[in-house]
């Protein structure tokens, strides 16, 4: 069986990829997917640590995080659709009408 540290390491890598994706990518949907990757990295870490501590609570938290992520998707996609209707684009670099 793989040691738990591998899982934690993988979750850290996933989190870093997600955070970089948010900073580098310019398409709102892809940025949003990167954020989901960060949340799921946290889920993986939760489950792995729950195994280390033999505490079920860690696995329960994953359900909370999944629920919150679903709520965020509902609002986020609605916003992105509303903007696409207006601008025919969801490139965040084109969202620069607010400046100063």
């Amino acid at each position: 069986m793989l040691p738990v540290s591998y899982y934690v390491g993988l979750s850290a890598v996933l989190f870093a990829i997600g955070a970089l994706g948010v900073l580098i990518r310019r398409n709102a949907i892809i940025i949003f997917m990167s954020i989901e990757l960060m949340l799921n990295a946290a889920n993986l870490a939760f489950v792995a640590f729950a195994r280390v501590h033999e505490a079920l609570s860690g696995q329960i938290f994953v359900f909370f995080v999944i629920t919150v992520a679903a709520a965020e998707v509902a609002v986020g996609l609605a916003l992105i659709v509303a903007i696409f209707r207006n601008k025919q684009s969801i490139d965040v670099d084109q969202m620069s009408s607010l400046k100063g």
Partner: protein, 480 residues
């Protein structure tokens, strides 16, 4: 579930249930547009009454995941009052801007219930849930002026950055759980004290939590969304968001670091020192260049986040920390009163399609509308920290505790940046009183009432500030 469990979440339950009822009410009252805001205000008054009745008692519920203590009660009162002010500012503004939809007030109630949960949370997972419960309605509110592109852009920026910040918080919570085997603040403290915790992991987790909440309360270098979101969102939303989201963010930061991590003080305090100093400097200096009043107030809000963040550097010093938290609570109150007043004036001058928001539009206000200009002058002086205003007293208590904790350099930066801030706040006064112009103002009754009450409050409360500060000090006693 016991009765203490119910009592510990009573104001939150009342608000959530009432908001669900209002969703229905709104469907059946298409003609009487005043009913939903009125009922929302009634619900907030009920929550306010419960919170006042609860102050002085302690209810720990759900196996210690939430607690109602003085700290919670103080903040609940602040949140409920902010909600009332938010409704008062929004009522006529929404009609004028064509945003007259009942969901507005429902979302406001949901967001406030999240803030109250944040103040009560004593478990990191509840902190995370509360953070999302308060943020998600705010994302929608920021885009409430849809299909106005500015409002949509503000909502998307707020949403993406807010969700990004949420990712940092939840990963920080996961690491804290990994380091200690629990997410309960008390258990984390116990694990650190008995030496069973992995300190490296815990410090990284705490750092990620600071980053996440740094986004939420707009601390430099995580502030880049603030001016755009404050500018693009409807002004009534911005006024509420500036107070509510900031107070809730600081509530979580104060509770988490004071209750769970005082033993890591030496490792964490340099980060906080740098963040507070950077925020005060950048917020105040960039604000000088602003000519749009909404952006000016946005940078001012960043600067004030820096001042409040200063109180966090005391979190691990057992003798000073209670004063530090009390000073932060008092400053939040001072900021709330001043901020709602200032945004009330902004709303009075704002026209459709983002007109009436430039500083030049304030020219001649002193001659044509002396009362409104005088109120704005009071708010600007309070933001600067000139006596006799709440802003001055708040800064006084804050700087005093920072000096007590031995951070002379930080206090000095605070005083110097306050001096810089005088330049741009006083510029508003100069434009209002020294230049001629024909300002066009709409002043419905509720708006007059809000600006009038907050202006009087800013001055009068500063005179009776000692009992107020004592109230804040008593509120934090049980934290330690």
């Amino acid at each position: 579930m016991t009765s203490t469990d119910l009592l510990s979440i009573l104001p939150i339950t009342v608000l959530v249930a009432w908001a669900c009822v209002l969703l229905l009410v709104d469907v059946f009252t298409k003609k009487n547009k005043w009913l939903t805001p009125l009922l929302a205000a009634v619900g907030l008054c009920a929550a306010l009454g419960i919170s006042i009745a609860q102050s002085g008692n302690i209810y720990a519920g759900f196996k210690g995941m939430v607690v109602v203590d003085g700290f919670t009660a103080y903040l609940n009162i602040l949140f409920a009052a902010s909600g009332l002010a938010g409704i008062a500012l929004a009522f006529d503004y929404n009609k004028r801007m064509g945003l007259d939809r009942g969901e507005y007030y429902v979302l406001l109630l949901f967001s406030i219930s999240g803030m109250m949960l944040m103040a009560a949370a004593t478990d990191l997972i509840v902190v995370f849930l509360a953070l999302e419960l308060l943020s998600i309605p705010l994302y929608v509110l920021a885009g409430f002026a849809r299909p106005n592109p500015d409002s949509e852009e503000a909502a998307l920026k707020y949403f993406l950055l807010g969700a990004f910040a949420g990712g940092f918080v939840v990963y920080g919570v996961a690491l804290a759980f990994g380091a200690t085997g629990s997410t309960s603040l008390g258990a984390i403290l116990a694990a650190v004290n008995t030496g069973s915790a992995d300190l490296t992991l815990l410090v990284i987790g705490a750092g990620l939590i600071i980053v996440g909440f740094g986004f939420k309360v707009a601390v430099v270098p995580f502030q880049m969304w603030t001016p755009d979101v404050y500018h693009g969102a409807p002004s009534a939303v911005t006024a509420f968001m500036a107070v509510g989201a900031k107070a809730a963010g600081f509530a979580a930061l104060l509770r988490v670091f004071v209750a769970a991590l005082p033993t890591l003080y030496q490792e964490i305090v340099p980060i906080m020192w740098v963040l507070a100093a950077l925020t005060m400097i950048v917020g105040n200096i960039v604000a000088i260049a602003q000519s749009n009043i909404k952006r000016l107030l946005a940078y001012s809000s960043i600067a004030h986040a820096g001042y409040i963040f200063m109180s966090l550097v005391t979190f691990g010093q057992a003798e000073v920390a209670p004063d530090g938290v009390a000073a932060a609570l008092f400053y939040l109150l001072a900021y709330a009163v001043t901020n709602f007043g200032a945004w009330g004036v902004v709303i009075a001058l704002e026209k459709a399609e983002g007109k009436g928001l430039e500083l030049d539009d304030y020219a001649g206000l002193g001659r044509k509308y002396p009362a409104l200009a005088a109120a704005m002058a009071v708010f600007m002086l309070s933001f600067t920290g000139v006596p006799p205003t709440l802003g001055f007293v708040g800064k006084f208590f804050l700087f005093r505790t920072v000096l007590e904790a031995g951070f002379v350099g930080l206090a000095l930066i605070g005083v110097l940046t306050s001096l810089i801030s005088a330049y741009y706040y006083l510029r508003v006064l100069v434009v209002m009183y020294m230049r001629d112009g024909q300002p066009d103002v709409s002043r419905p009754v509720l708006l007059r009432l809000t600006t009038g009450l907050t202006a009087v409050g800013t001055v009068v409360l500063s005179i009776v500030s000692v009992p107020l500060f004592r109230w804040a000090s008593q509120a934090v006693l049980r934290l330690f």
